[in-house]
């Protein structure tokens, strides 16, 4: 992460020398002032929020998403810091097939071993690319891991006790979408779309310093974007009334599209989305399968985090393409499995 102006002689040269010193103090001072102000005005602020049930519910949902995601974010980031610092580059060239087209399915299936939700897999995929893994394979891993790991599939089985084919459909469709996206990236993707954020150079540091440097950087960075995504998701969660959904559910095509969009907007953790899908009982099984396949691959908090970790040019191409492919494959799978 770019830190402050004073730590960058290249930029400091372009800025007037005057405010240099102040800016360095600035960050911490602003933070301190902000916190003091908030502690002082705590009473009135909390009071105001309680007066508006909508605002209060929003705050609860936002805080919940953050609290729920925090262990996954922190452990995902810690794992990616381990990859960055302790796993030698040569490991990946040995572990994955040489040919990128073969590395894609291997990386997709490797997603089975990462028992987490999507917040953790974004920094891990970024770390893999940094360590020389072909982007196609890292992206296939990014898409597959949150959807096909044992915890998520078990949750799906529990949520759909009468439809075990939902578990099979979800696992298969997610794998296929991850592989298609990996191969698409090989055909159409351009490496310059991916702009990994500048991270402090780790090579010259002791392992411990490098580990904590990477950890700090990724938590602040991916975490910041997670906050933006969580705010958007909480807003949707609180303002979309359930009646709207009822009206859409009767049309089979409309319901597929509606649940694909809802999966993007709601940004529910992949470990929980099956229960929400189960409760959307007015919708067809196929459209609910679409919800389960799209959700872990494209949603507001993921788009926000991908824009942060891989760059905006990447995220604004990758997310819509994934959405279309995932919706198409999941609809096809649903048609095959449920008919």
């Amino acid at each position: 992460m770019r830190v402050t102006v004073t730590e960058r002689p290249d930029v400091a040269a372009d800025t007037p020398p005057g405010p240099k010193k102040e800016r360095r103090i600035g960050s911490v001072e602003v933070l301190a002032l902000l916190l003091i102000a908030l502690v002082v005005f705590r009473g009135p602020i909390a009071q105001k929020i309680v007066e508006f049930p909508l605002l209060q519910t929003w705050t609860t949902v936002f805080v919940s998403i953050m609290v729920q995601a925090m262990p996954f974010l922190v452990f995902g980031v810690a794992l990616s810091a381990v990859i960055a610092v302790y796993v030698p580059r040569s490991f990946w060239s040995k572990a994955l097939p040489k040919h990128p087209a073969l590395a894609v399915p291997v990386a997709s299936c490797a997603g089975v071993v990462l028992p987490g939700c999507e917040c953790g897999s974004v920094p891990i995929a970024g770390s893999l690319i940094r360590r020389g893994v072909t982007p196609a394979a890292a992206l296939a891993f990014l898409l597959a891991a949150p959807a096909i790991n044992p915890i998520v599939l078990t949750a799906t089985a529990v949520a759909f006790p009468r439809n075990p084919e939902m578990v099979v459909g979800r696992g298969l469709a997610s794998l296929v979408v991850a592989m298609i996206m990996g191969w698409l990236w090989l055909r159409l993707g351009k490496t310059e779309w991916i702009k990994l954020p500048h991270r402090p150079e780790l090579d010259g540091l002791s392992k411990t310093r490098a580990f904590f440097g990477a950890l700090r950087h990724d938590v602040v960075h991916a975490g910041g974007f997670l906050v933006l995504g969580a705010m958007a998701a909480a807003t949707i969660n609180v303002i979309v009334p359930a009646q709207w959904l009822q009206a859409i559910a009767d049309n089979p095509w409309l319901s597929v599209i509606a649940l694909a969009i809802l999966a993007v907007l709601l940004s529910i953790c992949s470990e929980a989305d099956a229960f929400v899908a189960a409760s959307l009982s007015q919708f067809s099984l196929t459209s609910r399968l679409v919800f389960l396949v799209v959700g872990p691959m494209v949603d507001l908090k993921l788009i926000s985090m991908q824009a942060g970790v891989f760059g905006r040019r990447f995220a604004f191409r990758f997310a819509p393409t994934t959405l279309v492919v995932a919706t198409g494959i999941a609809t096809l799978t649903g048609w095959l499995v449920f008919s």
């Binding site: 609860t60 919940s64 702009k195 500048h198 411990t208 960075h221 910041g224």
Partner: protein
């Protein structure tokens, strides 16, 4: 945002997560089973923050590694996204919003219940204390059969939840159900006949003793069935430690 400020934000975030997870506060937002992971994540954040501040204060000669590798991307606003991490800190430490209540229950409508394969006998005791979900499931799918005693008489059951607005404007007893966190919360509502609680405002917790009744209603929001309970007695209570089921 410089590294010192990042260290402070991480410290606050880790501290907020630890505070929420070492007290019962986290139960307002997530499932109980997440607690050990929350404590570990909070502790790791605090350690990372302390290491960051420690390394920064030592002003090591490795400083130059932290710059000079600019790839000219995303202008200079990118690190600013780190400021957003103050939002959850404020949410947890300053606002500390309560568990979801009547507003969320009205918004989401009654949940679709899962039919069980078998309904074991009610627990011992008179009245038998059961969860709202258990009552609703037995009432809707089992038509109350498993809530009868040996002589075929309805047993008294005790359930607790908060008051919210039901379909026809009458108050219902509600409990929110979590799968993961409050973002996926679904409401279980139970209508009340017989001697329903009176004079209670929304979000007031209440303990109700009653017997099965065949009355049901449709929740217009989600189009799912709402079971009813024939209330014999009720009393207002303090919210339980874990407000979700």
């Amino acid at each position: 945002m410089n590294r010192q400020a990042q260290g402070v934000v991480l410290l606050l975030l880790g501290g907020a997560v630890l505070k929420a997870s070492l007290t019962d506060m986290y139960l307002r937002y997530v499932k109980e089973s997440l607690q050990p992971f929350l404590i570990a994540a909070g502790a790791l954040l605090v350690v990372a923050a302390l290491m960051t501040i420690y390394h920064d204060l030592r002003k090591s000669d490795h400083e130059e590694h932290d710059h000079g590798h600019d790839h000219g991307h995303e202008k200079h606003h990118e690190p600013r996204v780190g400021w957003m991490l103050i939002a959850p800190v404020l949410g947890l430490l300053l606002v500390a919003p309560p568990a979801l209540g009547a507003f969320a229950a009205g918004q989401s409508g009654s949940a679709k219940l899962q039919e069980a394969d078998l309904y074991p006998p009610l627990p011992e005791g008179d009245p038998a204390k059961i969860s709202v979900l258990d009552y609703a499931t037995r009432a809707i799918f089992d038509k109350g059969v498993s809530m009868k005693d040996g002589a075929g008489k309805d047993r008294k059951v005790q359930i607790s939840g908060f008051i919210s607005q039901g379909p026809d404007g009458k108050q219902v007893l509600t409990r929110m159900m979590l799968s993961c966190c409050a973002a996926d919360a679904r409401a279980i509502k139970v209508g009340m006949t017989g001697r329903p609680p009176e004079g209670l405002s929304e979000n007031q917790w209440v303990e109700v003793v009653g017997i099965y009744t065949a009355t049901t209603a449709k929740d217009p929001v989600s189009n799912n069935d709402i079971p009813f309970i024939d209330v014999l007695e009720w009393k207002p209570i303090e919210p339980p430690r874990n407000q979700y089921e």
